[in-house]
């Protein structure tokens, strides 16, 4: 088949396109990643996490606190006071999203010597006062404090010993691909030693948006004694608060299982975790000044993980989340801890890319398979259904499995395939239309030739009997299609006898036309062999026709021999309507009805004829179904009654040619352009 062959070529083309797309997708160029992130952000924005717990409170160094206590950085004595006040609320842990790497500038001992005119005794006395840093360290030691260490991209210019790290138990067969920090900037040794833990803070934003939070990183030199795993600030706070260690189990396939006491959660094997963002919430924050002034109820901070961070507008370190909100950086740590403690997990499993490839292959494959079989509207509908299904899969995975599946690229792949397949289908149908119109033209040409041949088979009585005075004959034939199954014939059997016949083959078109040609010639040869007996001629013709009738067609025939000397009409009808006859001065009447069925209906049927004696001037009119079965646009039939009335009204015009023309014209007027139901053949004979 031409069509399916071409379509299969297009299918192969589309399959190659799909394969190319899969390869492109699997290689993850940046364009893939950006769109993927946009999809993940869309999930987050559609379903931001509702806050169900409040394990974290942020003590904010905000505008109100700066107004009360003056410019930042505050003296360490002020920080010591703040920590003491917080500790009074019995928090689980205090974490600082603030660095304290340099000695306190405001320490009395630090600036005493700079005071002009001060006595050396006083300087010594002031210097012997405990420094602000020492007071701060003391305050830190009184509770559980976690200090920040900043991940640096370069070696630490200040040098210093490697940080102390918490014990992390790792269950992994191969080294985990954690990010290695070049170096970390620590707090002052005095403060660091006072802290219960230290967690690193680092930027982990892509295209300026925070989507993942780091949990672990390697520090020190690979393989060296100082090679260790450090925890991020949030993790370290959780660890210190729980008072236990951290264990990491490699689940293989890109996922880790992390455990801190009874909290267990999945993480990516690069040591990060996808954040399931909740909206910025002012309820997470309390003002440092309110803490110092003791304005908060005890339970506000009791048992909580307290984060101390900056929120003053001039000091703000703002981060953009996947919700496309700008929030203070410290709130990201709070969101991470909330997410972990709420048991809400979000991960991109190692099999995610595989799943996406499968989605792409199945939706693309479905389109390649089905689009060629479908109408365009259905194909589009199916495409919409596939897209909706993909989006539903993406959202369900996000909401109920905590899995990030990128459905945009499978959908884009499917779109490419759809466009390709539709274009191919269009091209194919265009080609087919061209072929069909060429075929139609050729068949049309052949039919025209067939029509000319068929019309050539029919005698023209006006020419044959133009000079005849003993009788007159007129006939016409209009096929419903180009060619038809009706025919008529008329010729002199001998000097005195006129033979005429009208016939109607069952069916229309080419098959009927071929059978008609065969029937006409068999009837003529049978008649010539049985020149005196028209009935015997039909019996004979049926026998001949029946031998070569694979399509089991039949033909109704009215045949007659008119003795033009005596007016004796010997006739026989094989399933055909009998003629109208009209004697001068009389209304029309009909001859005896048919004696037998159409030729080729009952094998071996012996036809018997009748005789009618014509009078001078009497005419006979015979037609095929095309007259009474002619329908107008309202579906009404022309009918035998209308014909009879018409024939009764044609008294004056008694020439056969006129009768034929009038009936033909009336049928045309009646049909008024409606498609003819059947071939239309009219024959009229007048004697003397």
């Amino acid at each position: 088949m031409e069509r399916s062959g071409t379509l299969n070529r297009f299918r192969i083309g589309a399959a190659i396109l799909l394969a190319a797309f899969v390869v492109l997708f699997a290689s993850e160029p940046p364009v893939i990643t950006s769109l993927r992130h946009a999809v993940f952000d869309a999930y987050q924005r559609m379903f931001p996490l509702a806050r169900v717990n409040e394990p974290v409170v942020i003590v904010a160094i905000d505008e109100k606190s700066l107004a009360a206590f003056g410019q930042w950085p505050w003296p360490r004595t002020r920080m010591a006071d703040l920590v003491k006040k917080i500790n009074a609320y019995d928090p689980a842990v205090i974490g600082f999203d603030i660095m304290f790497s340099e000695p306190d500038q405001y320490s009395v001992s630090a600036f005493a010597s700079h005071i002009p005119g001060i006595s050396p005794e006083l300087v010594e006395k002031l210097k012997s006062q405990p420094s602000g840093d020492r007071q701060f360290a003391q305050a830190l030691r009184e509770g559980k404090a976690v200090l920040a260490m900043t991940a640096l991209e370069d070696p630490n210019p200040r040098g210093g010993p490697p940080p102390r790290v918490a014990p992390v138990r790792v269950l992994a067969e191969t080294p985990l691909p954690f990010k290695r920090l070049k170096s970390v900037l620590l707090s002052l040794p005095e403060l660091d030693q006072a802290a219960a833990g230290r967690g690193f803070i680092s930027e982990d934003a892509e295209d300026g948006i925070v989507r993942r939070a780091p949990l672990f990183a390697r520090i020190g030199k690979a393989g060296a004694v100082d090679d260790a795993i450090a925890l991020s600030l949030g993790m370290e706070m959780l660890r210190v608060a729980s008072g236990s260690g951290v264990s990491i189990r490699d689940l293989n396939g890109g996922a880790l299982e992390v455990k801190i006491e009874e909290i267990t959660f999945p993480a990516q094997d690069n040591g990060s975790i996808w954040l399931r963002h909740s909206k910025h919430d002012n309820d997470r924050f309390v003002s440092a000044v309110d803490v110092v002034m003791g304005k908060l109820p005890h339970e506000k901070l009791a048992g909580k993980l307290v984060l101390v961070g900056m929120a003053g507008s001039g000091l703000l370190d703002l981060k953009t989340t996947a919700l496309h909100e700008s929030v203070p950086g410290v709130e990201i740590h709070a969101q991470l801890i909330e997410q972990l403690m709420a048991g809400v997990h979000l991960q991109r499993p190692g099999a995610a890319t595989m799943i996406e490839l499968l989605l792409m292959l199945s939706s693309g494959g479905l389109l390649i398979w089905l689009v060629p079989k479908m109408r365009v509207q259905r194909a589009l509908l199916m495409f919409v259904a596939i897209s909706v299904t993909l989006v539903a899969i993406g959202i369900s995975a996000f909401l109920w499995q905590g899995m990030l599946i990128d459905v945009a690229w499978p959908a884009i792949g499917a779109t490419w395939i759809l466009v390709g397949m539709l274009a191919a289908s269009l091209a194919v149908s265009d080609q087919q239309r061209r072929i069909m119109s060429e075929q139609a033209a050729r068949i049309g040409g052949e039919l025209m030739a067939a029509q000319r041949i068929q019309m050539g088979l029919l005698p023209n009585p006006a020419i044959l009997f133009g000079s005849e005075t003993r009788f007159a004959v007129a006939a016409t034939l209009e096929p419903a299609r180009r060619v038809g199954g009706d025919f008529y014939d008329c010729f002199m059997v001998d000097d005195n006898r006129l033979f005429f016949v009208i016939a109607d083959v069952s069916g229309k078109g080419l098959a009927a036309a071929l059978f008609m040609a065969s029937a006409k010639s068999h009837i003529k040869s049978a008649l010539l062999m049985n020149a005196h007996d028209v009935s015997a001629a039909l019996t004979e013709a049926q026998a001949e026709l029946g031998r070569e009738n694979p399509e089991q067609m039949f033909v109704t025939v009215f045949a007659a021999i008119l003795d033009v000397g005596s007016g004796r009409l010997d006739y026989v009808s094989a399933g055909h309507d009998t003629p109208f006859v009209r004697k001068p001065g009389h209304p029309v009447s009909r001859l005896q009805p048919a004696a037998g069925p159409p030729l080729c209906v009952i094998d071996g049927f012996v036809y018997r004829g009748d005789t009618h004696q014509m009078v001078a001037g009497e005419w006979l009119f015979i037609m095929t179904d095309g007259v009474v079965d002619a329908t107008n646009k309202r579906g009404e039939f022309f009918g035998a009654k209308r014909l009879e009335k018409l024939l009764n009204n044609t008294q004056a015009a008694s020439k056969p040619a006129d009768i034929v023309n009038i009936v033909k014209a009336q049928v045309h007027t009646f049909a008024d352009g409606a498609e003819p139901a059947d071939d239309l053949t009219l024959l009229s004979v007048r004697w003397a």
Binding site: G507, F554, G575, H576, P593, P597, I602
Partner: protein
């Protein structure tokens, strides 16, 4: 075209509806085929109930002819009953009443076919 079939004694009565012409001739033949098979197997005569048949064209007549020829291969018998006036006229003019026995009513047809022993070969007039 669906044929409503009921069995009555030796007769399998099949009801035709609407028109029978070139457009649905094949459909009619397909619907008739299984009934011809079962009628042949169980030696039943088929009575075509034409009370709902409004029109039959010459292509439709050919359909009837083919059915009769097929039934003859196993000496089966098909008759028609309860013809509407227009269809009756068509049968009369075309003398298809010589091919298929025509009965005024279904019950008359059933009586006629039941009065014959089932294995009596029948031939039209």
């Amino acid at each position: 075209m669906s044929l409503a079939a009921t069995k009555n004694g030796n007769a399998l009565i099949l009801g035709l509806k609407g028109r029978l012409d070139q457009d649905n001739c094949d459909e009619f033949r397909d619907a008739l085929a299984p009934h011809l098979d079962s009628a042949g197997r169980d030696r039943l005569a088929i009575v075509l109930d034409l009370s709902q048949l409004e029109y039959v064209s010459s292509a439709g007549l050919r359909c009837f002819m083919l059915a009769v020829k097929q039934a003859k291969t196993y000496d089966g018998r098909i008759v028609v009953a309860a013809l509407q006036p227009m269809v009756a006229e068509i049968f009369q003019i075309s003398r298809f009443d010589l091919l298929l026995e025509v009965f005024a009513s279904v019950s008359a047809a059933v009586n006629a076919v039941s009065s014959l022993p089932p294995d009596t070969p029948t031939s039209p007039a």
